[in-house]
Structures are given as structure tokens and as C-alpha cells.
Amino acid sequence: MKIEGEHTFNGPRNEVWEMIRDPEILASALPGTQKLNKLSDTDYEGTMNVRVGPVSGSFSGKLVVSDEVPPQSCTLTVDGKGAPGFVRGVGHIKFEEQETNTTYMTYEGEVTIGGTLASVGQRMIDSVAKSMIRQGFESMDKALEARLANKSGQQVEYKPPTETEFAASVAKDVAKSWYQIAEVRMVMYVIPAAILLALIGYILSQLLHR
């Protein structure tokens, strides 16, 4: 699956770069993540236990940052796998400083999704990925806002969304696009699959936001 997109961060490029290279912030902006372990300056690993409905299993992911040109661009390689399947992907991210003191980010990459995720969750991958990306950006925006405010002496608390809030929001987004699909025969089937896909979204957003 090819992915590409853009996002404008409301802050200077250096701040954005610093933020996305901070695993603490990233992990907190990606609900459901257990702490992201930094193995080296460029390698990270994270684990997640999933047990929802018929789907259960531990999902572990590795993330490598390469071709870094701070604060302009980097390449991310993600390799996650677990009982529900696997996600592998490579993404290239670029940051451009805008005159308005904002940062324009573009990303493009290719993701392979396999196993149960692909074979039974296919129809929702797109919408879930989009939803995860949207939400991920929203929380990053808030984190950035808090970060900038704190630097200027104000006390603004950044509260990342909880896993439940996040999943609920994804389910809502997915359901919206679902009603437009004519062949829907059995809505109950959506729920476990949606949750499954939240998982992909998690990996995707990890990939996309860093």
C-alpha cells in the first residue's frame, strides 16, 4: 500500500524535529503504546499486548531512523509483527520551514500489511489508517502547543488521549465510511476487525509521525 500526505505543524521546524525525535512524546501521542524503548539514537522498539474479542496476541515493532538530515528529513523503516500479522514499511519524511513560523511536513512511503490484518481487515485498512493519521496529528499538534507554551513560561498540560478514547474515535471514523459500503452484510463483524486495524494504525502513525 502506498501512503502519502502532508501536515502543517504550528511551530518552528527545530521544535517539530525535536519533538518527533523524542520517544517519550511520541509514545504518549500514540495511545495504546507501551513505552517505546530507545535502543540507540536511531533504533527503537516497542511492544503491545492486544486482547480484544477474538483477536489476541502480542505485537512488537522495531523502528529505525536513517538518512537523517536534521531538521529537514529522515527515512523511517518499521517492522512490526505479532499473532495478528505483520506490518513492514518504509517512509520518507520532509520538513519545510514556512514563513509563518509553521512547519510543512510531507511524507510518502510504502507499507506491506500481512497475515490476519490483511486477509480479513482489508476493507477497513484505508479508513482506519486515515483516521489514525488524523488523530495522531491532532495529538501531536496539542503536544507541540504545550511544548511551545512551556518554553515561553506558560504552564500548559499536555494530556494524551487514552487508548479507549483513541479506539472509540477510530471506530467512529470507520463506521462513517462503513455505511457507504453496499456489501456490508454483518456489522458485528466490523468491531473486532476495526480493533485489529487500530493496531495497524498504531504502527502506521508511528511510522508517519516521526
Partner: protein
């Protein structure tokens, strides 16, 4: 696992008390715990309709219900419909119209249709196709099933009238 719970389910008029895990599917409970293997499973995700039983009188997919949810409820399976010696009119009509081939999906069709034929005395083809639209059959192409439903409705309602 997360322990076992005692449940009491009435199946075909008989009470069954069993200790089950909360995740046990009703379809597995019916088939493997109490041994009523007439209910079949075709897809395990609620699409094919093969595992349909009557749950408190309504056609329901037993692969989408946990056995614990059936505690103190009433289930009717194909075994509760008619016997070889005395077939239910719907069963009779299915044989008469060659509405089954491998017979695997048939119990699901029958249980889906029981309330339908009770309600409709002269259903149209469209109404019947709509009623069985959630049941998949790979052998018959459905036409003979539609014919069987018409025959069954006629048989059931003439005998009442």
C-alpha cells in the same frame, strides 16, 4: 482462562446445565457440549447463516453468541423441528422440491425460515429471497429453496385454515 461459569440453557425444550468458559460460542456449546450436531458452522463470522438457531423464538446466528449469553434463554435447533418419522412441513417441502443437496447449510435455512413460514401464508418470490438473503448455499442456486418455502407456507396455512 478466566474461569468457568455455570449456565442453564433450554434447548429443544430440555434444560442443560453446564460449566463453560465465557468465551465458548453458543454454536460450539450446542454442537460439542450437548452433542446436537445438526447445527452446522460455515464461516464462524456471522455471514453464511449456516449456524442459525431460534433464540427465544428468533432466528439467530449461534456463532456470534456466547454460550453464557444463552443462560436462562431458550434455543431451538433443527433437531427440535421434526423427526425423520414426522417431518415438519418445511422439511417435507425441502425434500419435495429438492431444496437441498449436500445438506450442510440446510439446518440454517430451516431455522431462518420457521418464523417466516409461520407468518406468511402466500409469500412472494421477492419476500422469500429477501428472507433467505442472509443464508448462503453453494449447491442449489436457491431456486428450489424458494419453491420449497412456497410449498411449506401453503401446507402450513391450509392445514390451519
Amino acid at each position: 482462562m478466566s474461569g468457568e461459569y455455570k449456565i442453564n440453557v433450554k434447548v429443544n425444550g430440555k434444560n442443560y446445565e453446564r460449566m463453560v468458559e465465557p468465551r465458548l460460542l453458543l454454536s460450539d456449546f450446542i454442537r460439542h457440549e450437548i452433542g446436537l450436531t445438526g447445527t452446522h458452522v460455515g464461516c464462524e463470522h456471522g455471514v453464511c447463516g449456516t449456524c442459525t438457531v431460534l433464540f427465544d423464538g428468533l432466528p439467530s446466528r449461534s456463532c456470534l453468541i456466547f454460550a453464557v449469553q444463552a443462560h436462562r434463554h431458550e434455543v431451538v435447533t433443527v433437531e427440535g423441528l421434526g423427526s425423520i418419522e414426522q417431518l415438519h412441513p418445511l422439511q417435507k417441502a425441502f425434500q419435495e422440491k429438492h431444496a437441498l443437496q449436500c445438506g450442510y447449510c440446510t439446518p440454517g435455512f430451516l431455522m431462518t425460515l420457521v418464523p417466516f413460514v409461520e407468518k406468511h401464508s402466500h409469500p412472494s418470490d421477492e419476500e422469500i429471497r429477501e428472507a433467505i438473503g442472509g443464508n448462503l448455499c453453494r449447491c442449489t442456486g436457491y431456486e428450489n429453496i424458494v419453491e420449497a418455502v412456497k410449498l411449506a407456507s401453503a401446507m402450513m396455512h391450509t392445514s390451519k385454515e
